[in-house]
Structure formats: C-alpha cells, structure tokens
C-alpha cells in the first residue's frame, strides 16, 4: 500500500494550481479511470491526492461570441441532456448516449475523458470533428498561466499528452457550427452501452446540395492516439457524397489508420470495422 501524505479537495482553481506547482499530485475528478487503474496496479498514486470535483466555476456548458465552452468537470450525463449541445453539436450528445452506463455517466467528466488520453476515449472523437481546443492552466509568477492547445495536437501516445504535470485542463471549446453543419458518430459494440470502443468513427462538415465542405473526420482505437483522418478528409473535401467518393474515402482510410492486435480485436478486424463504419456514417451524413 502506497503512502499518501495529503488529500486535497480545493474549492478554487488558484488553490489547485498552487498545489500542483509545488510538486507531483495525483488528480482525479470522477475517478472512473483512476480508481480501476490504481486498483489493477497499472498506475500508482503520488504522495498527494487531489479531488478537483469541488472546484468552483469549472463545470457547465455555455456559449459566448459564437464559441461553446464546456468546463472540465462537466459530466457525460450533463452533455447528453444539455439543450445547447442538442441544438448546436448533437454529435457530442450522440457519443454521450453510447458512453458507459448511467451510473458512470453521472460522474465521469469530459476533462477526465480527454486527460486519460485513451485512443478509445469516446468524447474525444466528436470533439476532433468539432475542431475543439483545450485550455490548460498552471501557476507561475504568482498568477494563473493559461494556454490553448488544439485537441488534434494534444495527444502524443496512449495515456500521454502535451499537458505538463503541473497543468490542469480547465475547459474544452469549439466554434458553434454553422446551421448546415452535419456531424455523425459511430462506435463499435454489440450493445449500446458499457462497451469500450473497438473502433469509432466521426464525420462532420458543412453539407449542402449533397456536397461536403470543411470535412472533418476522426478515428478512435485504430492508432496510438485518437486522430484526424487527413487522407479521408482530402478524399471528401468539396465533393458530392456519391458512391465513387465514398469508395475513395474508404481506400484513403487505410492510409490514416494504424490498427494493432489487442485483447479487444485483431488489426484485421479493426480495419474491416473501420471501413464498414465509415461507409455507414458517410451514408448517414448524406441522408441528412
């Protein structure tokens, strides 16, 4: 049993960041990743444990100047039911709908999902489609320091990100999509919930007259990190979504995905699923 010398439950962001500036702290929010990982021994606690769930003004969903901001502590249940998300970014609600179970969604945070940096993190995929950025905060020179990182450049390898150990993720933001934006998400799994994605696919863009513009495509669980599928995007950009274009997109997907064999699926099966899902999602977009 590892020794923990202090347990912190700060109420303010300043307090949390100041603690993080003075050395290693294990941060948790809902604990739905941290608890099983530490129980299974794949992760160790540092000597200080910090519960960030009580920090004020770090939750909630709001729109300001055409930008939607989701606070790090916002739960998946809140995202699933929020009118702003349902109206402006239903692709996020769609991912929340297929996320774990009610009991998990009620505590699992969006910040935790992003920072856990699993290639299978289900909220990451639609956020990539929405071209989101994360805000990171730290404490230096007696003040809060903030920086923004596009989500696409946040992940470096499984469970690794560009976030420093003294930084807290405070929010995720994205431009409110235009009225003609269509976004669709699909994850694998024989049942709607409690399923860690074997493959996930998100597609979005401005869709009018059968043509997709500003195409953004994200893949989950087919590479060491969640990723934007740039080859697929190029194959779709400015094109009418007909059978030929969809076929070309499926071929391009092979250049974007680098799937591996693991306990959930073989690389071959993942590649196959990816094509099936991409085709299905593109048909959904076309059907809009």
């Amino acid at each position: 049993m590892q020794e923990i010398t202090s347990y912190l439950a700060p109420r303010s962001l300043d307090e949390a960041l100041q603690a993080m500036a003075t050395g290693d702290v294990t941060v948790f929010c809902g604990g739905t990743d941290l608890a099983p990982q530490t129980e299974a021994g794949v992760r160790r606690y540092s000597t200080r444990l910090m519960n960030i769930r009580r920090i004020e003004n770090l939750d909630g969903i709001e729109e300001k100047d055409g930008v939607i901001r989701i606070g790090a502590l916002t739960t998946i249940s809140e995202i699933r039911r929020h009118p702003l998300i349902a109206g402006a970014a239903p692709i996020l609600a769609e991912a929340a709908e297929h996320f774990a179970s009610d009991q998990i969604r009620n505590v699992a945070s969006i910040g935790g999902n992003i920072c856990n940096a699993s290639p299978a993190g289900d909220m990451i995929n639609p956020l990539l489609v929405l071209d989101a950025a994360v805000e990171l905060a730290s404490w230096a020179d007696g003040a809060q320091q903030k920086r923004r990182v596009p989500l696409e450049h946040f992940f470096t390898s499984p469970q690794r990100t560009v976030k420093r150990a003294d930084e807290l993720l405070t929010s995720v933001t994205f431009r409110k999509p235009a009225a003609d934006f269509v976004g669709r998400f699909r994850k694998s799994g024989p049942r709607p919930a409690l399923e860690i994605s074997t493959v996930s696919v998100g597609v979005g863009g401005n869709f009018s007259g059968g043509v997709l513009r500003n195409a953004r495509v994200a893949f989950g669980s087919v590479a060491p990190t969640p990723l934007r599928a740039r080859h697929v995007e190029a194959a779709l950009e400015g094109c009418k979504l007909n059978a030929d274009v969809i076929s070309a997109a499926l071929v391009a997907a092979r250049s974007d995905a680098k799937p591996i064999d693991d306990v959930r699926a073989s690389a071959w099966y993942r590649s196959h699923l990816l094509e099936v899902f991409l085709e299905e999602v593109l048909h959904h977009v076309r059907g809009n």
Binding site: E39, R53, D102, Q103, P192
Partner: protein, 161 residues
C-alpha cells in the same frame, strides 16, 4: 502510514462522520464502517451496478467512488429507501413480480430503477431497459425486472394523474 481523512455527510437521512484512508472506496466504507451490507461488491470495476448508491440525488457506482468524496454530500443506500410503513413502491413491485432470484444484484437494480422513475414518472419499458444497462444480473432475470419497473411506473402515474 497514509494520512487519515475526517469526513461528515448525510447517510440515509442521518448526519454521520468517519475517519478513513484517502484511497478507501465508498463501498468499503459503507459495508465495513457503517455495517450497511445491502450495497454489494461484485466486479469492483464499475461494470455491474451491484454497488449503486445515490449521491446528491444521482446514482453512481460506490466501488469507484473515493470515500473522501462523500464529505458534505447526501448519500442514500438501499437501506435508506424504506418508508415508515415498510418497503418503497419500487421494492414492493420487484417482490410482487418475482423479479428477484438469488438477489445479489437487486439492491443496485432497485436503486437504479428508483432513480429512473424519480426522474421520469412516465418512464417507458425501453427507457427502463437503457437506464438499467449498467446493472447486470447473472441470474438473467431481466424480463421480470422490467415488468416490475413498468408496474411501479403505472402505480406512480396513477397516483399522480
């Protein structure tokens, strides 16, 4: 030795306090410190729902919840559902429909069903099915569970409208 954390919270309507290790989970605290063995340990990983409790009105898996996070919160366990006159209507419906086989999953199943009905008095069978996805029954008695939930909804509805 790790530090001990002092917490106080409402447990089934009573103000209580505890001194616990920082990594102890709420499930362990409820069972071993408060003797509330209705909340069950099965998977310990958030997959099965046997440990479901209500925290500030929302259900969650107590096996994943740090006990220290109970501080200042309102916690309700299966023991807290009973009314002054006996079982609550959801508990009664489960008994009446024979939804219980070995019973191990039942405290969690009933906590979750009660939460679903409290938040949606017109809960449909399909919504109940989705809402109970995080509750596994290894005796596989789901049909009768859903019958019980449906009848609890009907009773609640009739009382109201």
């Amino acid at each position: 030795m790790s530090v001990a954390i002092e917490i106080s919270f409402t447990l089934n309507g009573r103000l209580v306090s505890a001194r616990i290790p920082p990594t102890m989970k709420t499930l362990t605290m409820l069972r071993d410190r408060f003797g509330l063995s209705g909340t069950k340990y099965a998977c310990g990983e958030g997959e099965c729902g046997a440990c479901t409790i209500r925290v500030d009105g929302k259900t969650q898996n107590s096996c994943l919840m740090f006990a220290a996070d109970c501080d200042g919160r309102d916690i309700v366990t299966i023991e807290g559902l009973k009314t002054p006159t006996g079982m609550n209507p959801v508990q009664k419906a489960f008994v009446e429909h024979g939804a219980v086989q070995c019973g191990f999953c039942m405290p969690g199943m009933i906590m979750q069903a009660d939460y679903l009905i409290a938040n949606n008095p017109h809960l449909t069978r399909q919504e109940a099915q989705r809402g109970l996805e995080g509750n596994l029954c290894r005796c596989t008695g789901y049909t009768k569970v859903l019958d019980a939930v449906e009848s609890a909804v009907e009773q609640k509805c009739c009382g109201q409208c």
